[in-house]
């Protein structure tokens, strides 16, 4: 792969019915990366969890809109002990401003339903960065997995 390569740009309506299609697109995009099934499954799960959070919390019940998923391969710097990184950038256009607190994992010793999505994202990915969109409403979540 070249130094920086866009593997996927996919815009879709933020709703639960789209998640199967999203996962399929993501698997197809990740196939040339030559990673094990376990690594691919974990990355697909983490990105899917991030989309679920956008659907449930950023858009919620009262707002509607799209999600744009961009997947990019970035080569590692010379002398660095990783081959490169996969960057998953999720952009939403929701009125709700997602804050860093909402992306924190909850303690796993609390056995209760819910709140596991952020733990999965933080566990699978090496970097999780949240920022506002530069223009207009919405949020950008960038997930990085070093390989």
């Amino acid at each position: 792969m070249t130094a920086a390569q866009k593997l996927l740009v996919f815009q879709f309506p933020a709703c639960a019915e789209q998640m199967g299609c999203l996962r399929q697109k993501l698997r197809e995009a990740l196939a040339p990366c030559g990673q094990s099934d376990t690594v691919v499954n974990n990355m697909v799960l983490a990105v899917s969890e991030a989309c679920t959070n956008i659907i449930q919390h950023a858009y919620g019940q009262s707002d509607k809109g799209d999600i744009v998923l961009e997947v990019e391969w970035q080569n590692g710097k010379p002398g660095c002990n990783v081959t490169g990184s996969l960057v998953f950038r999720l952009t939403d256009f929701a009125r709700h401003k997602t804050c860093a607190e909402e992306m924190r994992s909850r303690p796993l010793d609390e056995i209760r339903p819910g709140g596991l999505g952020c733990h999965i994202i933080n566990e699978v990915m090496d970097e999780v960065v949240l920022r506002d969109r530069e223009s207009g409403k919405g949020n950008v979540l960038e997930l990085r997995k070093r390989l």
Partner: protein
């Protein structure tokens, strides 16, 4: 997602399969809680689960808590690799009662 409850001698067996995500997890939740309401122990066969996310896991956890409160046996059977990967990530593999055969679960009922 496929989600069918079959009545067995002394317990209910829920056969779960396919992709369990945000679109279907509410159906799984209703099925689990509906089954537990009958007062029968519940065993969930997860051999055919090809994908499960945190919303599906949340339904399993809610069932676990409800069964515990109702003092009913509740277990997971033949967990697929895909589902085990998620249970391990969320450390719930140490919490749920995992079984590799229905006989193993039946022994707990005695």
């Amino acid at each position: 997602m496929e989600c069918t409850v079959r009545s067995q001698t002394g317990f209910d067996l829920l056969e779960l399969g396919g992709e369990v995500d945000l679109q279907f997890s509410h159906k799984l939740r209703e099925t689990i809680l509906g089954s537990l309401k009958t007062g029968n122990p519940l065993l969930i066969d997860m051999a055919k689960v090809s994908y499960i996310d945190s919303s599906g896991i949340a339904s399993l956890v809610e069932g676990f808590q409800t069964a515990k409160t109702s003092k009913l046996q509740y277990g997971l059977l033949n967990i697929s690799n895909a589902a085990m990967q998620v249970l391990t990530l969320t450390r719930l593999d140490k919490i749920f009662d995992l079984h590799s055969s229905t006989d193993q679960f039946k022994q707990k009922l005695q």
